[in-house]
């Protein structure tokens, strides 16, 4: 059972670019848009998704022999909910500021389509190691997409990159405001939609170009 389908390495590589959950499959849009106005939020979200996805995938893969088809989705959701509770409590304990900033979006990982899709596609059919490497690959792909969006939004919106953690000013604060001033719209919701839309367009364009070449 664990021998058919892609190997762990293939799963891992596929998650990052070829089957990137955000850019290719367009799943999990809610956190992608909501937490990407700063790099810190994006990276914390990625960490939480990595934790939840890895734990849920491994557990589902271990119990895959016992799953009944009609109860499958319910089992997935409850497993994910349990691990999200753990992740939420951990964040509240060790990174209180981030937990406050991300607010309801950490519990909303429960209904993130990426995780249920991975449980369904990979973990319910394949072995533990494949499921684990799939989880890591998909989370890295998720993190990559979030990082791209957050970089655009934070640099244009605040002029910083990892502003709170590292304090890097990509665009020096000394530039006079009539030359360049932060684009407030990038921090607000419309910026998220526009950035992701254009990023999807750019991904499709590059895919089409590589295929032609």
């Amino acid at each position: 059972m664990s021998n058919d389908g892609p190997t762990p390495l293939e799963r891992f590589v596929q998650g990052i670019i070829p089957e990137n959950p955000v850019l290719r499959q367009v799943l999990g849009i809610c956190p992608t848009l909501a937490v990407t106005n700063t790099m810190e939020g994006a990276m914390t979200m990625t960490g939480a998704v990595l934790f939840v996805l890895a734990c849920a995938n491994v557990l589902i893969s271990l119990i895959r022999g016992m799953l009944k088809p009609h109860l499958r989705i319910l089992v997935f959701t409850l497993t994910i909910a349990a691990f999200v509770t753990v992740a939420d409590r951990l964040l509240a304990a060790f990174m209180y500021d981030m937990s406050k900033q991300l607010g309801p979006y950490i519990p909303l990982i429960i209904v993130n389509c990426i995780i249920i899709a991975r449980c369904e596609i990979c973990a319910a059919k394949q072995g533990v190691w494949t499921a684990f490497s799939d989880a890591v690959g998909q989370s890295l792909g998720f993190g990559l997409a979030l990082g791209c969006i957050a970089t655009v939004r934070e640099v244009l919106g605040f002029g910083t990159w990892f502003g709170k953690w590292l304090g890097w000013h990509v665009i020096p604060a000394s530039i006079p405001t009539d030359v360049w001033s932060p684009w407030v719209i990038m921090v607000l919701p419309p910026g998220a939609f526009l950035t992701l839309g254009l990023l999807l367009g750019a991904t499709n364009w590059m895919t089409a170009r590589t295929k032609k070449a």
Partner: protein, 247 residues
């Protein structure tokens, strides 16, 4: 009158100003996936509104009676088991698991109801109904309500059942408005010559961005409306004289 004004303000700020899709980004998956046709979009929005309201009713009751810190039912049961127990009983760690269970149950209920009484509607969005379980709007509403359920803990702005229900209904309504507008636009854009890479989700997201820009225009509407509806509601300049209300 004061009560009515509060309710109206809550409704407007939930449905328009803090629109679920354009402000909180929840429910984006169906917003992009199911907004191709106007009638399916309307069906989806209506189903979400309905499920959200039911889930909000259940989750408010369960949170208030069982899950919140010092909830009456749990305390009563706990004191039956351990009559000499002290301290506040708190089951709020179970919140997420219970909410997702409640939502799954409510979706099942709606599915059965629609299949029995509206077969045509069931055919139109039968596929999407199970997907509502993973619609972020519903869980988001449950989580917001969780923060406002009156309990033994420190709740800044406690909501009764009435406010919770209105919040949930208007959140669903906001989603309905958003997805219907989007479906109308997408039906038109079918006839346009969209650049190839942007076709599908790309152009939809860009349109959503522009729409969300338009919805930003509602910002500040609530405070102005509050001024009209509640003329001079004690602006409280003498803070040191008035003792804070014991809530």
């Amino acid at each position: 009158m004061d009560y009515l004004a509060t309710i109206l303000l809550l409704a407007i700020s939930t449905a328009l100003i803090n629109n679920m899709v354009f402000h909180f980004f929840v429910g984006n998956c169906p917003f992009i996936g199911v907004s191709r046709k106007l009638d399916t979009a309307f069906g989806m929005g209506a189903a979400v509104t309905f499920v959200t309201t039911i889930a909000a009713l259940l989750s408010w009751l369960i949170t208030w009676a069982v899950l919140a810190p010092g909830a009456p039912l749990t305390t009563w049961v706990w004191h039956l088991i351990r009559p000499d127990a002290k301290g506040v009983v708190d089951l709020s760690i179970l919140n997420y698991v219970v909410y997702i269970f409640v939502i799954a149950w409510a979706v099942q209920l709606v599915e059965m109801y629609v299949r029995k009484f509206f077969p045509a509607l069931y055919k139109a969005f039968g596929v999407f109904l199970p997907l509502i379980t993973t619609n972020c709007v519903i869980l988001f509403v449950c989580l917001e309500i969780m923060k406002h359920v009156p309990s033994a803990g420190d709740v800044p702005d406690p909501w009764g059942l009435d406010k919770a229900l209105i919040y949930a209904f208007c959140a669903g309504l906001g989603f309905l408005i958003a997805i219907v507008i989007m479906a109308g636009m997408r039906e038109e854009i079918e006839h346009c010559d969209v650049p190839k890479p942007l076709q599908g989700p790309g152009i939809t997201l860009i349109m959503a961005g522009i729409l969300s820009l338009a919805f930003l225009g509602f910002t500040g509407m609530d405070s102005n409306l509050a001024k009209i509806l509640k003329p001079a509601p004690t602006p409280a300049p003498e803070i040191k004289a008035a003792p804070p209300p014991a809530s």
